[in-house]
């Protein structure tokens, strides 16, 4: 069975999406268990794959039995072996946590919602696992289209925000497609490994450089890398919480993965960092992304929107780290894919719980939440610590690698930006904590005058959230193992 994990990983969510869609017309109650079971199988396969990769090295799975480059093949190596479990586990936990929220918000459209959710996960997993450049585009579009659908169901402004996302996302995907076309026209192949084999003699070609740049711009558009980020905050803020807490942690991170995949596998690091003399400029762009993300977040008086700007800043972390051009920076970027997915999930799930109970996420709505929802807020504290970068939460360690990478690259601007963003995060989160902790102010201080007891979200929402919070710390403590056994091998040895 285990040799079929690569297929199961993607096919089971797809099949279940179809079955759920049919079940939605027949008996709505079947949808949730099917979805959970499917994502459970996917998570199981993902973990199984990672273990196999650790055991045997790169796994190749030929779809349709055709050898690449004729057919499409999956390549699972250390890089996507690490990202796959993250994607599937994040999706699974978020699904479980949001059951009640989904039923509350879309009583009539449960079937389509789960269908889209599962298709989205299929798309994301497929993007990560595939070894074919064009197949990646198709999966990108699946993830994107379902994402538009999920995001647009929210508040009044959601459709417009999503439509803007759609324009930008389509341009991004088309740019990627165009870049693949350029690579195809000069190499005649679509398979990533095959392209990588054919490319080196062509590195001086204008077409190859253009292909790389176009692909990068496309991917940056999709990951909301500053200054191409404008679509993200509104699209994520006004969406329903189940969708935003799936999409915010995963989509940007998966696109970072695609960027790193292109840089490391399809092209070579030497080409990205040396032949194209743009890496310094991109790191400076990342610095601006981090600073602007932090500053724009400061300007928000709205928890969810603030978090979306933090997502923008975090994208800057990873792009900057990847483009520092050394091993530590790349390690930090890859590690941050994992960590940022988890911590973004954590904080967005918290928002989901708050929205479920309080029906709002503006700062005024948050008063007294430490008393009302202590567990949810506890998770928010841990998530915030991770985003700030306090050990032993995982966010600290990826920041560690990023900063060490910046130091060894001599890029002190990037280091300063990371520190600045940590400091701003402290302000951002403690501003929220202050509101939740102090307000509403009592007339006279002290002495048991804070009325109102606990009003926590349902257990089914709190337990997954707490699991995520614990994972944040556990992953932090196991950083050494992750780096030594996985990420170290994901980066080509030529990179120092």
């Amino acid at each position: 069975m285990s040799e079929q994990y690569p297929a199961l990983l993607v096919v089971v969510p797809l099949l279940s999406a179809l079955v759920v869609s049919i079940a939605g017309w027949i008996n709505k109650r079947l949808c949730f268990p099917i979805a959970v079971a499917a994502l459970g199988v996917a998570a199981w396969s993902a973990v199984g794959l990672l273990l196999r990769v650790l055991d045997e090295g790169v796994i190749v799975y030929k779809l349709g039995g055709w050898s690449p480059p004729m057919g499409i093949a999956y390549y699972i190596d250390y890089l996507n072996g690490l990202v796959l479990p993250v994607v599937s586990i994040v999706a699974l936990l978020n699904l479980i946590a949001n059951k009640k929220g989904i039923e509350q918000q879309f009583p009539d459209k449960i079937g389509p919602f789960y269908t889209l959710y599962l298709l989205m996960v299929t798309g994301l997993l497929g993007i990560v696992v595939t070894g074919d450049a064009f197949n990646l585009y198709v999966l990108l579009e699946i993830a994107a289209l379902t994402g538009y659908g999920l995001l647009a169901m929210g508040e009044e402004r959601a459709p417009l925000a999503t439509l803007n996302y759609l324009y930008m996302g389509t341009i991004g995907a088309c740019f990627y497609l165009l870049g693949v076309g350029y690579l195809y026209i000069v190499t005649g192949s679509l398979n990533m490994v095959d392209i990588a084999r054919l490319l080196p003699p062509l590195y001086q070609s204008k077409a190859v450089m253009a292909a790389f740049i176009i692909c990068m711009v496309g991917v940056w558009l999709k990951m909301a890398f500053f200054p191409l980020h404008a679509w993200l905050p509104n699209a994520y803020t006004y969406a329903n919480s189940a969708a935003s807490s799936l999409i915010a942690p995963l989509v940007t991170k998966v696109m970072i993965y695609v960027m790193i995949r292109l840089m490391l596998t399809v092209f070579t690091p030497e080409f990205a960092f040396t032949t194209l003399a743009v890496s310094n400029a991109i790191v400076w762009l990342a610095v601006i992304a981090i600073v602007m993300g932090a500053v724009l977040a400061l300007a928000e008086r709205n928890l969810k929107k603030m978090l979306t700007y933090i997502v923008v800043a975090e994208v800057g972390y990873m792009v900057g780290g990847a483009w520092l051009g050394n091993r530590d920076g790349m390690t930090g970027a890859i590690l941050h894919i994992v960590n940022d997915a988890l911590m973004t999930l954590c904080v967005f799930m918290v928002v989901g719980n708050i929205v479920y109970k309080v029906k709002g996420y503006a700062f005024e709505d948050l008063q007294g939440l430490f008393r009302k929802m202590p567990f949810t807020m506890g998770a928010l504290v841990i998530g915030a610590m991770s985003i700030i970068g306090v050990p032993p939460t995982c966010g600290f360690f990826s920041k560690w690698y990023l900063i060490v990478g910046a130091i060894s690259a001599g890029h002190y601007g990037f280091m300063a930006a990371l520190i600045f963003s940590s400091l701003v995060s402290v302000v951002l989160f403690f501003r929220v904590f202050e509101i939740c902790f102090y307000e509403p102010f009592a007339d006279h201080h002290g002495h048991d005058n804070h009325p109102g007891g606990m009003d926590e979200a349902p257990v089914s929402m709190v337990v997954p959230l707490l699991i995520v919070a614990v994972i944040l710390i556990v992953v932090g403590l196991y950083t050494g193992d992750i780096v030594n056994h996985v990420i170290q091998f994901a980066i080509p040895e030529t990179m120092v």
Binding site: Q4, V11, L15, G64, G123, N135, V138, T146, S189, A211
Partner: protein
Amino acid sequence: MKIIGLIITVVTGALLFYAAGDFPAWSDPASPASTYLSPHFIEKTMEETSVPNIVTAVLADYRSFDTMFETAVIFSAGVVCFFLLRISRREDEEPETRYYRHVLTGVTIQLKEGHKMPPSADFERIDSMWTPPDLIIKTGCRLLIPFVQLFGLYVIAHGHHSPGGGFQGGVILGASVILLAISHDLRTAVRRMSEKLIGILCAAGVLIYACTGALCLLLKLNFLDYSALAGILHVDPITARSHGILMVEIGVGIAVLATMIWIYNNISSAGRYRQGL
């Protein structure tokens, strides 16, 4: 915004023009794209899959995994349109007055305050803004639709040997039902193909595709390796590939057919499923 747009456009265009300098000339038989993979497809397809239409073979066999997701893309577009637009009966505020038209005589009855007409074949529900469909168009389309559908089926079935296949045929089939909705009204079309049926067909089409692949997996070969079907179909593995392609093409046809109609229904009526356009 216009100036920014212009700048971005010019910069991007300049980059693309610059890069195009290194491209092979148009229709150059020696370009990498024409010499690397394509000779294999052209020369080997027949013996490997026994399908003369190379596009079909590459689409549904060599790169069948792409195509499965392509179908899934279409399916998800259908679901998204439904998810975004469809207004459920509970949320839909019914107009206070309803209009019913006697089909034979054309007499219109107005019922107030949510009264309903008992179901009857003689009367049809109409919206307040109703224009009678043109008799010639109505009749013409009625005559045309069966032939359109027949052609659609032909395109699906003959995809192995001539241009065509599931997508093309599915679109033609879908268009026939949409034609009905345009020439009559949406209610008529929905009566012929209910929403539930369409929804299930949509998923079922993709399911046929994915299950064909999963069947290969159960038969101990890789996903979508149709040669695994040889045992069940009692043919040699190469013919099994050809049959496998047909199976998935049928699935694609069904999915595309249903999704086209589904998208049309939702968009044309903004999710209310009344008269439509």
